[in-house]
């Protein structure tokens, strides 16, 4: 059951992830990304991260991606043109990617040779109570700083988007 769920949603995540990259129209990429996020939310649940799973859907899928879709619809963004000037990225891209992936997988295999099996429900400290307690005690300062960051981001976004009116 656990393995089945993992494979199902890992596959969804992978397919949607590939789709994000290969789709030509931004809105299709965006919705594929929503798919990745949904699949990841389920994987979080399997890993015992209930709160994070819910927040993933609320914040990522429900707020950030809606914003993306909104902007894409607003600008009526189309596919891409042929212009491609970044020579470095075009030539080096594929080999770089392969090296990167190879390095990471090598490191994962080396550093975590005996990784534990993931059993659903084995880790029970990912509920809102635990996360909240940690967030408001040990990580209180980062939390407050983040709220300031968000405030700044709101101001920045408003200022940037406002020019339209002039």
């Amino acid at each position: 059951m656990d393995a089945g769920l993992f494979f199902l949603f890992a596959a969804i995540a992978l397919v949607c992830g590939i789709n994000v990259v290969v789709q030509t129209h931004p809105i299709k990429s965006a919705l594929s990304l929503v798919g990745v996020m949904g699949a990841l939310a389920v994987l979080y649940l399997l890993l015992g991260a209930e709160f994070i799973a819910a927040v993933q859907v609320v914040v990522y899928a429900g707020a950030i991606m809606v914003l993306f879709v909104f902007v894409i619809m607003l600008l009526n963004a189309d596919g891409e043109t042929r212009v491609s000037r970044a020579r470095l990225a075009n030539w080096l891209g594929i080999p770089l990617l392969i090296t990167l992936l190879g390095m990471i997988s090598y490191l994962i295999q080396r550093e975590i040779p005996y990784s534990p099996r993931v059993v659903f429900g084995a880790f029970g400290r990912g509920g809102p109570r635990d996360v909240g307690r940690l967030l408001f005690t040990e990580y209180l300062l980062p939390f407050e700083v983040t709220s300031v960051l968000i405030l700044i981001a709101i101001l920045g976004a408003v200022v940037l988007a406002r020019k339209e009116i002039e």
């Binding site: 059951m1 656990d2 393995a3 993992f6 494979f7 890992a10 992978l14 992830g17 994000v20 990259v21 931004p26 990429s29 965006a30 990745v36 990841l40 890993l47 991260a49 709160f51 994070i52 927040v55 993933q56 914040v59 990522y60 950030i64 991606m65 914003l67 993306f68 902007v71 607003l74 600008l75 043109t81 212009v83 491609s84 075009n90 891209g93 770089l96 990617l97 990167l100 992936l101 990471i104 994962i108 975590i112 990784s115 534990p116 099996r117 993931v118 059993v119 990912g126 996360v131 940690l134 990580y139 983040t146 960051l149 968000i150 981001a153 920045g156 976004a157 940037l160 020019k163 339209e164």
Partner: protein
């Protein structure tokens, strides 16, 4: 019946998703798609945070994920506002055409 998956598979999935994000960043030419590739990379990293959290039986990884999400939200707000402004000024969303910083 209850087969279980090793944790490293989650990490591998995370690595592959991250690489996909990088690929999107490197090869896609629409600003919005590039931006979404960044979000994909962040998601991949989040997955590994949560996986590590599972491995060490500590909630701290979740906190990091939480912060990543919050920062991603802020980033999306500002980033999309910038994209709107760029589109207004240049009426293009092709990232390669936005190169006034050249040289």
């Amino acid at each position: 019946m209850t087969a279980h998956v090793p944790l490293s598979w989650y990490l591998m999935l995370s690595a592959v998703l991250f690489a996909l994000g990088v690929a999107g960043f490197l090869f896609r030419r629409s600003v919005i798609t590039v931006f979404m590739s960044i979000e994909l990379m962040l998601n991949a990293v989040n997955l590994s945070f949560v996986a590590f959290s599972y491995q060490w039986r500590q909630t701290d990884g979740h906190i990091f994920t939480f912060f990543v999400m919050v920062v991603a939200a802020a980033e999306a707000a500002v980033g999309l506002a910038i994209i709107l402004t760029v589109y207004r000024n240049r009426s293009t969303l092709q990232i390669d055409e936005v190169d006034s910083m050249r040289n």
